[in-house]
């Protein structure tokens, strides 16, 4: 399915579909997951099926209608909740998927596996500082800060995108790191990333190497849509 074009024009048309994994046990039970590795819930499996059906309809019908559809490739984080979701998509689109550990969620260290109430009780000082400041350089639970996660995720995503110039690249991964990437493209300070909530299986689309003609000087990147979860209506 890969029909890569060459040159800078192809780079500018490269489109990333950033997809958050379906509901996991940690999501359902309200604990911080980070790089902890719980599987999907029954609802999560339903969401992943809806997502896969939607992508099949959208990507395959476009291809037939337009006769010029770019190739489609699928990458996912190597955490179970992302891979389980990716399996539904891979099956529906008849694609292989590539695991990439750089797409993992933020490492939350000793906070992993705990609810916010438990963190507040066990690590009151850490919890207070974080809640009062939302400091993006603060390593929650002694793990990774938002700033560090952004430094990991942006080059990883751009490297994958360059490898598939002109294609539609589906990236199945995690909300925290996805927000830091969106903040990078939107020029949004990291303190504000939580203003962009991302639902399980929601799709956000970005052209990482395209520019608006009104502003050809600033770094490239166009956000086409954020948090589109139309496929979850009435679930």
């Amino acid at each position: 399915m890969q029909r890569s074009q060459t040159g800078t024009d192809a780079l500018a048309t490269t489109e990333l579909w950033l997809i958050r994994h379906a509901e996991s046990i940690g999501n359902r039970d309200g604990w911080y997951q980070g790089q902890d590795d719980p599987p999907l819930t029954p609802r999560g499996h339903q969401e992943a099926r809806r997502l896969a059906a939607r992508l099949r309809g959208q990507l395959l019908s476009c291809e037939e209608a337009l006769q010029k559809a770019p190739g489609v490739v699928l990458y996912c984080s190597d955490l179970v909740r992302a891979m389980e979701t990716a399996q539904y998509v891979a099956h529906a689109l008849d694609l292989p998927f590539y695991e990439d550990e750089r797409l993992r969620e933020l490492d939350l260290g000793r906070w992993e596996g705990l609810t916010s109430a438990e963190i507040a009780e066990r690590y009151p000082e850490e919890w207070r500082v974080y809640c009062e400041t939302f400091d993006p350089t603060f390593p929650r639970g002694g793990g990774e800060s938002y700033a560090e996660a952004q430094q990991r995720i942006v080059p990883a995503i751009e490297e994958i995108a360059r490898r598939h110039a002109g294609d539609t690249v589906l990236l199945l991964f995690h909300g925290g790191v996805m927000r830091t990437y969106l903040a990078h493209v939107l020029g949004l300070p990291l303190e504000h990333t939580w203003r962009l909530p991302l639902r399980n299986t929601a799709i956000s689309r970005v052209r990482p190497f395209a520019s608006s003609r009104y502003n050809e000087i600033s770094p490239p990147g166009l956000v086409l849509a954020v948090n589109d979860a139309a496929h979850l209506e009435q679930l």
Partner: protein, 226 residues
Amino acid sequence: MSQETEPQNTELWLIRHGESESNRNGEFQGWGATPLSPLGRAQAARLADYLRSRHAFDALYSSDLVRAAETAEYLQQALGLPLRTDERLRELDFGEWSGRTFEEIRERYEAEWTNPPRFDPSERRGGGESFYELQARVVPALNEIALRHAGENVLIVCHGGPIRVYLAHLLGAPLSEMWHMTIANTGISRVRPLEHIFSSSGRPGKVLTLNDVGHLVDLEVAEETD
């Protein structure tokens, strides 16, 4: 009180007008009175069907410019809501640039045009309004509408400029970065602007979706101009 009626859950659904004749011709519009193109009418009809099947709405507002008001009329008919127009929701005033194409402006107003273009939100393009001035006009107007409809879901049909400056306001993003957001014809951006006022957590507003165009699948999504 149910979840939906909590004031902090007030939702504005910000919708850009359907494709206008000027969009089709690649012209800057500003306050120009250009009607919808045939594609713009098809987009508005799709939008109306989509909204009717998806959600219940309590109020409908529109900019008083023709391309927005025509789009809003489709929603008025489909949803049976009264339509209120508000001139504060107009597009940026592009002054003398209105009605001219990107290429014409590049030639005629070379002094005002940096090459390659660099966006300065304090610049009054064509002698009209700056994007800072637009934000100072639009943010109070939309906040006032949200407060008037606290706890409700409100449809707002307006323009790419007002939607971008309001989203930048809610996100805490500088206006210099606003062109990284794409706002397509009839694209829907859904926001909760009042969380910071009513929520006990003291957290500011949220952007729930940006530029949802699910209703346009298999219909042409035109590239945006202004």
